[in-house]
């Protein structure tokens, strides 16, 4: 299978381990990722807040580039890129005037016929649990995992059209297929604070604090994420959260592709597991999984 | 043609559709004033000759509305109306009545908004078809 791959800015930078592990997982599944050549920022933030046209144009620019690859599917691991690209394509289809303006701005035509996937949806819906199950070599036995979807990949349902916004289960399925013990909790798609990390850090602390505390209370070995903003928020602030409680939290926050890569048999060094604040390798080694 | 206002005869059954029409009145659901109601006790009471008589007397459209299947006050009168409607349609097309001019609908007593909507849609459809001209009249006027 060949698909267009749109990593987005974060995966090039702070979320490099997401990008690395995605590529490994896809290679194992015989999915050829063709990175969109000369891709640029998708415009989801801060462009979206400042200038609607700019934001849509940025996405359109990338869509036009992807269309020239002649592949019908685009996969974007970052939920923000996923939503922005998808919304931009749909808005232009609904509003011909907007489309015309955007095409003028980017000096390029956009056909608007790509199928845009988030990575989690692509793996569960397109690749399928059976194919994933067949590649599992080293099940994550004994690893207690909290599945954290974050809000962006499942809401609003009219845009994302993916899983159940209040109680999603696709990540649970993948982790179970990988042999992990998936714990139930009520915060699967609660917000972590997203982009407020720099502007309203106390809010982020409050929101992520609740997530970390409940995950720890349930006895999780790790929190599994699909979004790099969630990853950053949860990973970076555990010391602060701990200070308030006079406790120490050391709950690793791992991308699901990193765990899936491990289960596929890739070496832990190759998956970027050494790029986290709260070290996941300690827990994984203790469980004999790395 | 732009001044043409269709005249439609509606046979409504006493137990369901007539009540719905009354309730549409109580609820003030606006309807175009083209429909003339004749009350019957059951949609099964509508003799095909009534429908033909209506068209022959100058109606541009005829509708028969009864209870939903299974809810007929007389058990299955509406089903008999349905059965008759198939043959009636064929007969009507022989008389040059286009399919869209005759409608059989199920409207429950509580479905007053549906009644109003149905009436308005039916009137619009018939208006688009234009006035009903019996075959002889059509030939005389040289209309195709």
């Amino acid at each position: 299978m060949r698909v267009s791959y749109y990593p987005g800015c974060s995966l090039e930078g702070t979320a490099k381990s997401y990008d690395i592990s995605v590529r490994h997982v896809c290679r194992s599944l015989d999915i050829q990722l063709e990175e969109v050549p000369t891709w640029a920022c998708c415009g989801s933030s801060p462009a979206l807040k400042m200038n609607r046209l700019l934001s849509t144009a940025l996405s359109a620019h990338n869509l036009a580039l992807a269309e020239r690859q002649n592949l019908s599917d685009v996969v974007a691991p970052c939920p923000f890129c996923f939503r922005r690209l998808k919304s931009a394509q749909e808005e232009m289809a609904r509003d011909p005037a907007l489309r015309q303006k955007v095409e003028q701005t980017i000096e390029s035509q956009v056909n608007g016929n790509l199928t845009i996937h988030n990575l989690l949806g692509f793996l569960t819906e397109r690749v399928g649990m059976k194919a994933i199950g067949e590649k599992i070599r080293k099940p994550l036995t004994g690893l207690k995992l909290i599945p954290y979807y974050g809000c962006y990949v499942v809401k609003p349902p009219s845009v994302t059209c993916f899983d159940d916004p209040a109680n999603p289960t696709s990540l649970d399925e993948i982790l179970r297929a990988a042999g992990g013990e998936v714990l139930d909790w009520d915060f699967k798609s609660e917000c972590c604070g997203a982009g407020l990390s720099l502007s309203k850090p106390e809010k982020v602390c409050e929101l992520t604090g609740r997530l970390v505390r409940d995950a720890a209370w349930r006895g999780a070995d790790a929190i599994v994420v699909v979004c790099q903003l969630c990853q950053a928020n949860l990973d970076l602030r555990q010391r602060e959260i701990g200070l308030t409680d006079k406790k120490e939290y050391q709950l690793p926050v791992i991308y699901f592709t990193e765990l899936l890569g491990l289960a596929f048999g890739c070496a832990s060094e190759q998956l970027g597991l050494d790029r986290h604040f709260v070290d996941p390798l300690a827990v994984l080694k203790r469980k004999g999984l790395a | 043609m732009t001044d043409f206002e269709p005249r439609i005869i509606a046979f409504l059954c006493n137990w369901c559709s007539y009540v719905a029409a009354d309730a549409a009145g109580v609820g003030r659901f606006a309807q175009q004033a083209n429909v003339r109601v004749i009350r019957v006790f059951c949609s099964g009471m509508v003799d095909p000759s009534y429908v033909i008589k209506a068209f022959a007397s100058g109606a541009d459209g005829v509708m028969v509305a009864g209870c939903h299947p299974g809810d007929c006050h007389y058990l299955a009168g509406n089903i008999k109306a349905l059965r008759r409607s198939f043959l009636l349609r064929n007969l009507l097309s022989e008389l040059g009545v286009e399919k869209k001019r005759f409608r059989l609908a199920w409207i429950a007593a509580s479905e007053s908004p549906l009644y109003a909507q149905f009436v308005n849609e039916f009137v619009d459809e018939v208006r688009e078809l234009g006035p009903y001209l019996p075959p002889k009249t059509k030939a005389a006027k040289g209309v195709a």
Binding site: - | W15, D22, G25, A33, V37
Partner: protein, 1083 residues
């Protein structure tokens, strides 16, 4: 036209006077009124003209209001429309005829459908006025929802205290007959003369004998979630919702016959014996089995188990091991020497002969002996057991087991005579001479079918059935080294596996069928393969080849298909593809045939193939006194079918000898749905199916020792606990044995009552919205999220906690209780836009009760508006806020979730403009009132209209809340729409008043607008007769015309519309009138 008048309120008295005066002064003979809907005022105006002496059917009403002025936005178009309509009305009125309706008397009996407070009120008012009332109540007790409440608002009266005097009064009232567990099936007739059919499900406990002592509950082995307690505690199927219930007697919840019992040909009460085994009551379990199957140890080893294929536990994980458990029970009894004869009737002076000591014959002997008959069993072979002995190998069924079962039968005074061949050594006439008054033939099918191919008579080619019999009788059977077995059924497998045990080096089993088509059981085939049998599929025998008269090989042709498109056995072959297998012995096991030569002199009817033809119910042959059953009538069948037929024949013979024939067909219990439902799934205990210990293949082929060693006591017990109790009550009989007054009858069946009444009040009440439709509230996930009604049960002294408000999860006293209003009401997204009217008050009441129990607790209420419109309601609500310090927060709840183990309610405080989170020990959802789940079937049964939610439609929302558009049928209570208790009581009284008016007038005038036939026009085509839903049309064969009974005719006009010659018209709606109306409108 003599006069035209215009008056604003024609329906008022001055308006009507105008009409009356005009008729009198101007001598009018027709009146046309153009105003509102005839459904509103046609009766008013008909009365007005009657009062002036004019026939009311000379009056025509034209609707220019609801259909015209009220809905048109264009006054000119509306006026034109009104003119057209009036013209039509006048043109029609010209054709009006005077009509007179006949008067019919009213049957002064009432039926109240529903025993809640509205129904109770109506019933008492009508009954106290001296009229008879039937109260039809679906549940086991009357009282409805009020019986579940603790206290009522705003007085905080104890609900039971104000309800029970009323329910007692109903229970004892001489004029009220209460039918519980009953529902209306359908009704015919018209006002004053209804015929209603009511289906009553059995209570199984006699209300005239039960003393309410409760001994039965103590011994009931089954626990199910209690519907009355809304699942917060369990009850036994035999129970009583609370001590003051009316009827005050116990009753049994039984869903119907479970699929296991329904699938068993013998009708063994599977659920019953599995439940008893699960409770460790092995002796009782075995006694229950013996009611239908005398041979538990045998059945538990060889049965084909249709019960397990239907077991609903199989839809969860694996079916319960019903067969293995039965074997355990039989073996347990033997090991502990617990067998004693069942209670037997006194010995009769009548003799019955049984021919054939196989399962059919043994079963018949057993049941006949219980009835007291003297039974002698005649058996051709030297051994007893039929195919059990000579068809089934030892390793499946040890001989000892058969002998022990036969010993039990001998001890019941059954005589056996072996070595006697019926038809040769003894004939039917001999038996008659010896005084046998009835004979049961169960000779089975012991002839091995032949192939009819070349070489079949070679030495070494033997019939499969013959081989098994010779082995069993320890006769000499030559089994060589290379054995070929032909056949794909269980017999062939038995032959093959026996050959292995007799030392064959190689055994090839060859059959026509493909592997998945083979009729043999999969398990048996699998075990045969394990033991080294080679299976060759899709081959058909062509011929045997031999030398010196001894067989040396068998030649097969490829079988290309076995069954044709209709599934009939019609094998096709490819004669060119041949396979030869070398062999020195060949066993042909292709089917069983009848020894029909033995039956030839009986003069009875035989089917092709020699099977005896019998009556399906009585198993009687065409010769009186001669009955037959088992393989010899069914064809090759199973052990359990033979045993079932043996019992059936015993009963039939008893009826024949005692009464001369069949007495009464036993009515069967209704089987339940075969699909697993959610309630059943939740009852599944997490126990995996116990696996039967087996000898490994290498060991078992060395002997005929039994392969399976049997369940232990623990295994049997745990297996019994896997049962889902699909039928609810398992009819084990424990309660029957315990009941002192002998009030329990488990054989009670449904009954249909045909009741004649004059008026019906529909008071079927409400149900409660299903809160799991809001998954975000965690209902069903968190035990501490409950509904208002469940909270009510917690408060109620006879509830699951004895009246203490405790958290369901840990039994602790809650400190913070959060109420969430409008769950399922005022919500377009959930399809319920209406307000349920009472929930605001219910929550205020419940928080007040909570505060009285726990003065230090804190209550919160998330509300949208507070609806407190009744007398004293607003004041009560104020008390809740000011006195009980309840925190009312205006805003909806977004989510109820668990944060580090604590329940949190997140909602909006819209007045403060911010979200708010409250930690809750208990969350109470104010679920809205909805129509009953079965409202659609009630509506169909009574021909009622419902609104879009399912509440029944009243005649007029303002002026007719207790009537429907059907004369004689009235409404009361929640069935018409959500309301509180005082409104339900008021409406109950209103409905009663309607019925009482009808009774006191005593007569109704039947609408004369019925069909009328002009016989002169009738051509006798009979089109009309089949169309009438009321059977009002018959055909007069002499005069060759139709005839209409106007007492039955309802005036629907279907016949009139169908008549090809317009010979039928509905009076007042004749074709002339309608044609005129059409012409008038379109002129």
């Amino acid at each position: 036209m003599a006069v035209s008048r215009h008056y604003k309120y024609m329906c008022s008295e001055p308006g009507q006077k105008l009409i009356r005066d005009d008729i009198a002064e101007l001598g009018l003979d027709h009146v046309v009124e153009a105003s509102c809907s005839p459904k509103m005022h046609e009766p008013t105006f008909r009365n007005a003209v009657s009062a002036a002496g004019m026939n009311p059917y000379l009056f025509e009403m034209v609707n220019i209001r609801e259909h015209c002025s009220w809905v048109s936005e264009d006054p000119e178009a509306a006026t034109r429309k009104a003119k057209d309509l009036i013209r039509g009305g006048i043109a029609r009125a010209v054709h009006h005829e005077p009509l007179k309706g006949s008067k019919k008397s009213v049957n002064p009996k009432a039926m109240i459908v529903g025993g809640g407070i509205a129904g109770i009120t109506a019933a008492l008012k009508i009954a106290n006025a001296g009229y008879q009332v039937y109260m039809v109540e679906r549940e086991e007790i009357i009282g409805g929802k009020m019986a579940q409440f603790d206290k009522t608002f705003p007085t905080l009266d104890c609900s039971g205290c104000i309800l029970t005097p009323k329910t007692s009064e109903v229970g004892r009232h001489p004029n009220i007959q209460v039918l519980t567990k009953s529902q209306v099936m359908d009704l015919t007739g018209f006002v004053g003369n209804f015929k209603v059919r009511v289906l009553q499900k059995p209570r199984y406990v006699r209300t005239d004998k039960c003393t309410g002592c409760g001994d039965c509950q103590q011994v009931c082995p089954i626990d199910i979630p209690s519907p009355f307690e809304l699942g917060m505690t369990t009850r036994h199927p035999i129970s009583r919702p609370f001590p003051q219930a009316i009827p005050n007697t116990y009753s049994i919840l039984r869903e119907g016959m479970p699929p296991c019992q329904a699938a068993c040909p013998a009708g063994v009460n599977v659920q019953g014996y599995m439940t008893l085994t699960g409770a460790g009551k092995f002796v009782e379990a075995l006694a229950l089995i013996r009611e239908r199957m005398p041979f538990a140890s045998i059945c538990g080893r060889i049965c084909v188990r249709p019960c397990e294929s239907s077991c609903k536990r199989g839809q969860v994980d694996a079916p319960t091991a019903i067969c293995h458990t039965k074997r355990f029970l039989g073996d347990y009894e033997k090991e502990h020497s617990l067998y004693s004869n069942p209670p037997m009737k006194e010995l009769r002076d009548k003799k019955v002969a049984v021919i054939g000591a196989g399962p059919g014959g043994l079963s018949a002997a057993y049941y006949l002996a219980i009835e007291g008959y003297q039974v002698t069993v005649f058996e051709k072979l030297p051994v007893i057991g039929g195919m059990l002995n000579v068809g089934i190998p030892d390793y499946r069924l040890p001989r000892q087991i058969i002998d022990e079962e036969v010993e039990n039968i001998r001890s019941m005074n059954v005589a056996f005579r072996t070595g006697v061949t019926f038809g040769k050594d003894i004939t039917i006439d001999d038996l008659e001479d010896q005084g046998y008054q009835a004979v049961f033939l169960s000779i089975g099918l012991h002839v091995s079918r032949r192939l009819g191919i070349d070489g079949e008579s070679l030495d070494g080619v033997v019939g499969g059935i013959d081989m098994l019999r010779m082995v069993a009788l320890k006769e000499d059977v030559k089994v060589g080294q290379n054995v070929v077995v032909i056949g794909g059924g269980n017999v062939a497998i038995d032959v093959a596996r026996t050959a292995v045990r007799l030392g064959a080096a190689r055994v090839d089993l060859v059959c026509l069928e493909a592997r998945d088509e083979m009729p043999a059981w999969e398990r048996e085939t699998h075990e045969a393969i394990e033991e080294g049998v080679a299976i060759h599929n899709s081959l058909g025998p062509k011929e045997f080849v031999g030398q010196d008269g001894k067989v040396q090989g068998a030649v097969f042709k490829r079988c290309t298909s076995v069954f044709d498109e209709n599934g009939a056995f019609r094998p096709t072959y490819d004669e060119n593809e041949l396979t030869e297998l070398a062999c020195d012995t060949a066993f042909v096991a292709i089917g069983q045939a009848s020894e029909s030569n033995l039956l030839s002199n009986l003069g009875i009817e035989l089917a092709p193939g020699g099977r005896i033809v019998t009556d399906a119910e009585t198993l009687a042959t065409t010769r009186p006194g001669l009955f037959a059953g088992g393989d010899c009538t069914l064809g090759p069948a199973t052990f359990v079918q033979a045993v079932a037929q043996g019992r059936q024949a015993a009963l039939a013979i008893h009826n024949f000898l005692e009464f001369g024939g069949l007495r009464e067909v036993e009515s069967k219990e209704r089987p339940i749905d075969k699909q697993l439902n959610e309630a059943e799934r939740l009852r599944a205990k997490p126990i995996a199916r116990n696996e039967m210990p087996e000898l490994p293949p290498e060991t078992r082929t060395k002997s005929f020792d039994p392969i399976e060693s049997g369940f232990t006591e623990d295994m049997a017990r745990s297996e019994g606990q896997r049962c889902l109790s699909c039928g609810l009550c398992c009819q084990c009989g424990e309660c029957v044995r315990k009941c002192g007054p002998q009030a329990i009858n488990l054989n009670e069946r449904e009954r249909i009552h045909e009741l004649e009444v004059g008026a019906i009040v529909v008071a079927t009440g409400v149900d409660v919205f299903d809160a799991s439709k809001y998954p975000e509230y965690g209902y069903g996930k968190y035990p501490d999220v409950i509904t208002n009604l469940q909270f009510e049960r917690l408060c109620n002294a006879s509830g699951p906690t004895g009246g203490k408000i405790l958290r369901p999860s840990d039994g602790k006293v809650p400190q913070n209780v959060v109420f969430v209003q409008c769950v399922g009401s005022r919500d377009r997204a959930k399809g319920n836009e209406y307000c349920s009217k009472v929930c605001c008050m219910i929550s205020a009441k419940q928080l007040s009760i909570f505060k009285h129990h726990n003065p230090h607790g804190q209550a919160y209420v998330f509300y949208i508006d507070n609806r407190a419109g009744g007398k004293g309601y607003e004041e009560f609500l104020r008390r809740a806020i000011e006195h009980e310090h309840a925190q009312y927060i205006r805003g909806r709840v977004a989510k109820v979730f668990q944060d580090q183990g604590r329940l949190v309610v997140r909602g909006e405080n819209s007045l403060a403009g911010a979200p708010v989170e409250i930690e809750a020990d208990l969350v109470v959802l104010a679920t809205g009132l909805t129509p009953q789940k079965d409202h659609a079937s009630i509506a169909r049964a009574l021909n009622l209209s419902t609104d879009k939610y399912g509440f029944f439609m009243e005649l007029h929302p303002k002026l007719g809340p207790a009537e429907t558009s059907l004369a004689g049928i009235y409404l009361a209570g929640g069935a018409q729409g959500p309301k509180d208790i005082p409104e339900s009581v008021a409406q109950g009284g209103a409905a009663a008043a309607e019925a009482l008016t009808l009774f006191s007038v005593g007569q109704v005038e039947i609408d004369p607008t019925v069909a009328r036939l002009d016989e002169r026009l009738c051509t006798g085509c009979k089109t009309c007769a089949g169309l009438c839903a009321y059977n009002a049309i018959s055909f007069n064969e002499q005069q060759k015309v139709a005839s209409i009974n106007d007492a039955l005719c309802q005036g629907c006009g279907t016949c009139a519309a169908a008549c090809p010659v317009a010979a039928i018209g509905v009076k007042h709606y004749t074709p002339d009138q309608i044609f005129a109306q059409i012409e008038g409108i379109l002129a």
